[in-house]
Structure formats: structure tokens, C-alpha cells
């Protein structure tokens, strides 16, 4: 295909669209799919605010710059320093750990809540709205809120010493990570619940009616009808969780500042630390670029492995 494109003379009089997809063009144009012009505004914004900065970050990762004056070329210096940096390696593990914790904790919670919220019980709507509230708050507000609630001397730990001990939640690695995982769970479970609620609602009732006639109980219905039918939503939700987990930042910034020491310094925070606290924008850019590449690869792998890319319909077994 690529050879065809390059070999095609520009003055051949073919329309842009047909040059790109010579074989499929007639059928597509008859269907009347909107042209590229429709995507232009979005593409323009995306280029201006995503592609251009991304390219600039890539260039900056080979430079040394402290925010003042003009940047200097330093070759691969930033990258080799990063490679030898133990904090960087640690931050990668911490990022993966927090992401994994997010997926493991939030998925079962939001499936259960979502399936429950998809039902037609009494008071369901009211409770669903209440569950939804954390999602309406900004991540910053949520983090500030929990930072105050978990203050060792003036928050909950001060009155619940039987549970929190000395209340040093932000001063030890295990508890600091626990707090981070808990706060993101509190904030993002409603969103994933919403995904599962929608998906569970779209499962045809006939499946349940048939199962009931066959004598399947509630648990069997859940494990043999609901869960399989939610498979595609699960993948969607997990990809969102993974990408969200890899790019978590403000929660760490406000709750722990990467501390104690570097014990909760995840990669995104380390990038900020390098760039905006140490004013080493070169190293910061290198971390940023590495994060983009890693997040893209992981998402692609998840999509491939899960068969999400070949997905056709979620109505398996209906026809």
C-alpha cells in the first residue's frame, strides 16, 4: 500500500481519500462517511496541544535547560543519567505497583457496585447518585480533603488510635502507598461503576429469564451470564485504570510529595520533581517521554492480548 501511495503521481487527479485507500474508496464514498474536513478542528487542537508539545519534550530530553536562557545540547546525557538513577528505577516499580493495586482493588468493587446499580431495586437511584459524588470533585480537592482527614493530630487518626496507632500514615512507605491506593479507589470507583452499570443494563433480560427457567440461582447467573457479558467493558475499564494509574500525579503531589524520602516517588512525580523542583527540564523531559512510550506500549499490549481490537459485539449468545 505504501509503495502505491508513493508511486502514485501527485497530478493523477485522484482525490486524496481515494489515494489513501484505493481499493475501498468506492464503497466508502457511497456510504457517505464524512471527509477529513470534519476532523480538522479536533486534529488541529490535538496537533497544537498534544503533538507539538510531545515533539518539543522529545527534543528537550536531549538538552540541558534550567528554565532560564537558552537550552544547550547535551546528547544522550539525560538518558544515560536516568538509566543509572536508582530513584528512577524505584519510581517505575512504584508506578507499576500503584497501577496494579488500582486495578486489583477497583475492578471487583466497581463490578459489584455497577451490577447492583443496574438493577431495578427500591432506592437504587438515590444511592447511585451518592456513590457518584466523588467523581464530581477534582482530584486536587479530593487529595486536599483526605490530607486533612488523615492528619495524625487533627484528623481521624487522632480519634481512632486503635486503628491508626500513632497516625504516621504519611511517614512510612507501606501506609503512604496504602493511602494513595485508597484515595484513588475512593475517587475513581464511581466512574468505573458507571461503565459497568451501563454494560450490565444492556445485557438482554431474556438471558436471565432463560437461566431462571433452567433453574440457575443468582450466583450462577452472575458468574455465567453477567461476568462473561461484561468482558468488553472490563477491558475498557481496565485500560482506563492502567493509563490513569501510570499518569497519576496530583494525588501524590498533594498527599505525600513523593515522601517519605523517595518512598512514593512514582515516575510522573519524579518527572515533576526533576523539572520543577530541581529545574532540570532536560531530565524531566526524558522521564516524560519514557512515560508516554511505556503507557502506549502497555495499552497496546492489553488491547492485543485481550482481543479488544477484534471486538465486534457484546451481544454474544443473543442471536
Amino acid at each position: 500500500m505504501t509503495t502505491k501511495i508513493t508511486s502514485a503521481p501527485p497530478a493523477a487527479g485522484l482525490r486524496k481519500e481515494s489515494r489513501r485507500r484505493p481499493a475501498a474508496s468506492p464503497s466508502i464514498s457511497t456510504v457517505g462517511r464524512p471527509g477529513f474536513a470534519w476532523a480538522l478542528p479536533a486534529a488541529l487542537f490535538f496537533t497544537l496541544f498534544a503533538i507539538v508539545p510531545l515533539v518539543m519534550v522529545a527534543v528537550l530530553s536531549f538538552m540541558s535547560w534550567n528554565g532560564l536562557g537558552s537550552p544547550q545540547w547535551v546528547g544522550t546525557d539525560n538518558w544515560s543519567r536516568l538509566w543509572d538513577d536508582p530513584v528512577m528505577l524505584k519510581s517505575v516499580w512504584l508506578t507499576l505497583l500503584l497501577t496494579a493495586l488500582g486495578v486489583v482493588i477497583q475492578t471487583p468493587l466497581s463490578i459489584l457496585l455497577g451490577v447492583w446499580a443496574a438493577g431495578y431495586q427500591r432506592n437504587r437511584a438515590v444511592l447511585s447518585v451518592i456513590y457518584f459524588i466523588p467523581l464530581l470533585l477534582s482530584a486536587t480537592a479530593v487529595s486536599v480533603l483526605w490530607r486533612a482527614l488523615l492528619d495524625p493530630n487533627f484528623g481521624i487518626p487522632a480519634d481512632a488510635t486503635w486503628l491508626f496507632g500513632d497516625g504516621n500514615l504519611f511517614g512510612e512507605q507501606a501506609t503512604a502507598i496504602g493511602v494513595l491506593a485508597f484515595v484513588s479507589t475512593w475517587q475513581f470507583t464511581p466512574f468505573h461503576t458507571l461503565i459497568y452499570q451501563g454494560a450490565a443494563r444492556s445485557i438482554p433480560q431474556v438471558l436471565y429469564q432463560a437461566a431462571e427457567i433452567d433453574g440457575a440461582g443468582r450466583y450462577r447467573q452472575f458468574f455465567h451470564i453477567t461476568l462473561p457479558q461484561l468482558r468488553n467493558s472490563m477491558i475498557t475499564s481496565m485500560i482506563l485504570m492502567i493509563v490513569g494509574g501510570l499518569t497519576t500525579f496530583e494525588t501524590v503531589l498533594i498527599l505525600t510529595q513523593g515522601g517519605p524520602g523517595t518512598d512514593t516517588t512514582i515516575s510522573a512525580y519524579y518527572m515533576y520533581d526533576k523539572a520543577f523542583k530541581g529545574f532540570d527540564f532536560g531530565a524531566g523531559s526524558a522521564i516524560a517521554l519514557a512515560l508516554v512510550v511505556a503507557a502506549t506500549i502497555i495499552s497496546l499490549v492489553v488491547v492485543k492480548v485481550s482481543g479488544y481490537d477484534k471486538m465486534r459485539s457484546s451481544m454474544e449468545g443473543v442471536s
Binding site: 536562557g69 493530630n153 500514615l169 504519611f170 511517614g171 517519605p260 523542583k277 530541581g278
Partner: protein, 434 residues
């Protein structure tokens, strides 16, 4: 049906509102002068002293045609915000800094206006300030800053009632401090409040102990690039004493979860849950804002205790010499800026600062101390600073900005036991010194 029809309109309204909000946020959220709006923008570290900066700006605006606007950035974010906007069109005309190392990179990048011309036109801009303080903002022989707050020695503050209950006197020596720690622990209070979450309050303990034990020369050596300074026996002794103090439970166990900047450690002392707190002299004005009743009746203070056998003069102090206003080269209203800076030695300025416990460094300060709201506190600071053979600048201000983050990590990790003395020494040796 009705609700369904209404929904799209609701969404549209919401989206418009969100857009409008974010747009207006772009407009005024940058804390600086975007284009030339005919005003001078003054960027200041946000804390309790801002009310005086506001008062002075208002005073200036009464008479000046070119109006001044005060922009504040919350303390914890000040430095990074400043460095990100200073070489952009959003940069302010005048900004708050710590003099010395904190403005060197800006001078190097040719962003700052040397104040020679201002001083030539009005010599009082230099002669009205104490030379030792004024000189801290001289870079490569040229003045770049005008002192704009008070000098800020770090003092050991305490809650009088808590100490009285435990039968403890403000400690004069290190041993007395250790005894006080034990006595306060027996009373069931945290002996010393510490906002470890901010890390720079933790750093104050290092600054003072290193100075008391090794004298100011050791740190001066280290900052000039002699990495062996950190391995010196005095350095190891200071670290050992910090370790002992932490292990004795002087700071409780949850200090890393506590912050000064969100008022946590301040409230601990004010509410009698802790006995001491080591903090800069701005602590008084912070307590006065947060807990006025306690600040007036219960807040005591003393100098950092002496250490037996230490090489440093026990009269030495550590802290910030002062804060400064520096001027950007690109300002369009240098005359107005010069007029504004002249207010920094006005009687009104000196009185207002003294009334909240900030000790100004103008030559006329002495005559206002006795009539200020807190003559005793001002006099104590004044004598302390005037008699100090050496004034150790805060470590994170003395080192280049690029070192501050790693230095804070090392300090926090040594304090909470994640790093041993050797690990700390290695981390400090790895810091860039220029």
C-alpha cells in the same frame, strides 16, 4: 420526556460555563503582568506577612499614577512558579526572594536590573539599610535587592503553659534540652513539634547543630565544593546527636505526616499538644494570625541551646538574613518601581513589620523597637542578630536551587532512619555546588 429534552440544553450550559471559567482562569491565574497593563506587578511569597505588603502597596497607590498590584503565591509553590514564569511575558516587575544564591541564576541569565542607577539617584536606597543585610543581595559587585521584610533568625519557640506543667525551663544547653524532652514525654505531650512533611523545618535542626559543633567554616567549605567537609568528624558528631535526639522520641513518631505550611505543627504548639518548635522568627506573626490568644499569652522563645565542646560560637544564629525585592530588567516603569522600593525604609513600613514581630533591617529600626507592639520580642531578636558573629543562611537557600530537592530527601531520610550517617554523607557529597 420533559427531562430528556432538557438534558442537552443543560449539558450545553454546563459546557459553556466550564469553558468560560477556564478562560477567565487563564486571564488572571498567572499571577503576573501579561502585557503592559500600565501597572507594576509585585510577586510575593504568600503567608501571614502579606497584609503588610498589601498595606504598603495601598500606600504607594495613594500617590502614584502608575498603580502597583500585589500578587501572592502560596509559600510551598513560590520558588517553582517564580522560576517558570520569570523569563516569560508573565513575569512580574518586582519579586520577593532570599538574596544570595536564590537570585544568582537570574543575574546570570541577565534578567535582573542592577540597582546602581536607583541608588545613584537616591543614595538612601542603600544607606538606610544595615550593610551586612544589604550585601547579601549583592552579586558580582552589583546590588540586586532591597530588603523588604525582617531578618529571620531561627529560634526555639515554646508553649509556656506546657513547659510550666512539666517543670521545664527553656533549655540553655543541649543536655538541658534532652532533659526537657524526657520531662515532656512523661507529661504525655510531644516534646518538639516538627513539620517534617515540609522537610525544611527538619533542615533547621541540621543547620544549627552543624554550626554549633563545627562552626560556620565547615559548611562554607562544603558549599565551595570541598566534598570532604561532610566526612569530617564534626559532621559525624552532629549527625550522631541528631540521631540520638530523634531516637529519644523528641519529635514523636508521626512528624513526617505533619506539616508547618498547613498549620499542623503551629496548632500542635498552640493547643498544648507539643512543647517546643524550632522555627524562623516569622513564627510569631504566624501564631498571631492562627492563634492570636496563644501568641499573646502563651508563646515563649529562646535562642538555640549551646553544645558543650562545640567549635562554633554559641552566639551564632542560623536562618534567613532577610527577604529582598529584586527588579526585572524588562520593567516598563523603573521610576515607579524606584519610588515603591523607597517605601521599604519608610517609618510606616518599619512600624508595621515590628508590630507583627518582624525585625526590619533598616538603620532607623532601633528607634521604633521600644514603641512597637512587641518591644520585648523585637529587642531579643535585635540583640541576638546584632551580637552574632556569624549568620548561617538556610542550607537550601545557600546551595543552588538544583540541589534543594535532593538535599531535602537526604535530610528527611536520615532523620526518619532510612539513611544512616554514611548514606547521608554520600548524598550530601553528590549535591551540585554550582
Amino acid at each position: 420526556m420533559k427531562t430528556r429534552a432538557r438534558l442537552p440544553r443543560l449539558i450545553a450550559t454546563g459546557a459553556t460555563l466550564a469553558l468560560a471559567l477556564s478562560l477567565s482562569a487563564c486571564g488572571d491565574g498567572n499571577g503576573g503582568a501579561s502585557a503592559d497593563d500600565g501597572k507594576i506587578h509585585i510577586l510575593v511569597y504568600g503567608d501571614a506577612t502579606n497584609k503588610i505588603e498589601k498595606q504598603i502597596v495601598d500606600k504607594f497607590n495613594e500617590t502614584s499614577d502608575v498603580k502597583a498590584v500585589l500578587d501572592t503565591i502560596p509559600g510551598a509553590d513560590y520558588q517553582k512558579k517564580l522560576q517558570t514564569i520569570i523569563s516569560t511575558p508573565q513575569a512580574p516587575d518586582v519579586f520577593f526572594n532570599w538574596g544570595g544564591g536564590s537570585i544568582k541564576p537570574f543575574v546570570k541569565a541577565d534578567l535582573l536590573l542592577p540597582l546602581d542607577d536607583f541608588i545613584k539617584k537616591n543614595p538612601e536606597l542603600e544607606s538606610k539599610f544595615l550593610p551586612s543585610v544589604f550585601n547579601n543581595a549583592v552579586v558580582d559587585g552589583k546590588p540586586y535587592g532591597i530588603p523588604m521584610r525582617g531578618t529571620q533568625p531561627v529560634l526555639l519557640f515554646h508553649n509556656k503553659n506546657v513547659l510550666k506543667k512539666a517543670g521545664v525551663q527553656p533549655p540553655k544547653t543541649w543536655d538541658e534540652l534532652l532533659n526537657a524532652v524526657d520531662a515532656l514525654k512523661d507529661e504525655g505531650v510531644t516534646p518538639i513539634a516538627l513539620g517534617g512533611g515540609d522537610v525544611w523545618p527538619t533542615q533547621m535542626w541540621f543547620q544549627y547543630l552543624f554550626d554549633r559543633i563545627a562552626g560556620p567554616e565547615l559548611f562554607a567549605k562544603a558549599i565551595e565544593g570541598d566534598k570532604s567537609a561532610w566526612e569530617a568528624p564534626e559532621s559525624k558528631k552532629a549527625l550522631k546527636m541528631i540521631r540520638e535526639l530523634v531516637d529519644a522520641g523528641a519529635f514523636g513518631k508521626n512528624y513526617d505526616s505533619v506539616k508547618y505550611t498547613n498549620g499542623g505543627s503551629v496548632a500542635l504548639v498552640a493547643q498544648g499538644k507539643a512543647g517546643f518548635e524550632l522555627m524562623g522568627s516569622w513564627y510569631y506573626s504566624q501564631q498571631l494570625t492562627d492563634h492570636p490568644d496563644f501568641a499573646e499569652k502563651g508563646l515563649g522563645y529562646s535562642a538555640f541551646p549551646t553544645v558543650e565542646g562545640g567549635k562554633g560560637d554559641p552566639k551564632n544564629v542560623a536562618g534567613n538574613t532577610n527577604n529582598y525585592y529584586s527588579v526585572l530588567k524588562k520593567t516598563k516603569h523603573p521610576e515607579a518601581v524606584a519610588k515603591f522600593l523607597e517605601l521599604m525604609y519608610s517609618d510606616e513600613f518599619v512600624k508595621a513589620q515590628l508590630d507583627v514581630g518582624n525585625l526590619t533591617t533598616t538603620t532607623n529600626t532601633d528607634e521604633f523597637i521600644e514603641t512597637s507592639a512587641t518591644p520585648e520580642y523585637s529587642r531579643f531578636q535585635y540583640d541576638l542578630v546584632a551580637n552574632a558573629p556569624s549568620f548561617q543562611l538556610s542550607w537550601d537557600q545557600a546551595y543552588p536551587q538544583s540541589a534543594a530537592s535532593d538535599m531535602h530527601k537526604a535530610i528527611q531520610q536520615f532523620f526518619n532512619g532510612q539513611l544512616d550517617a554514611d548514606g547521608f554523607i554520600k548524598a550530601m557529597q553528590a549535591l551540585p555546588t554550582e
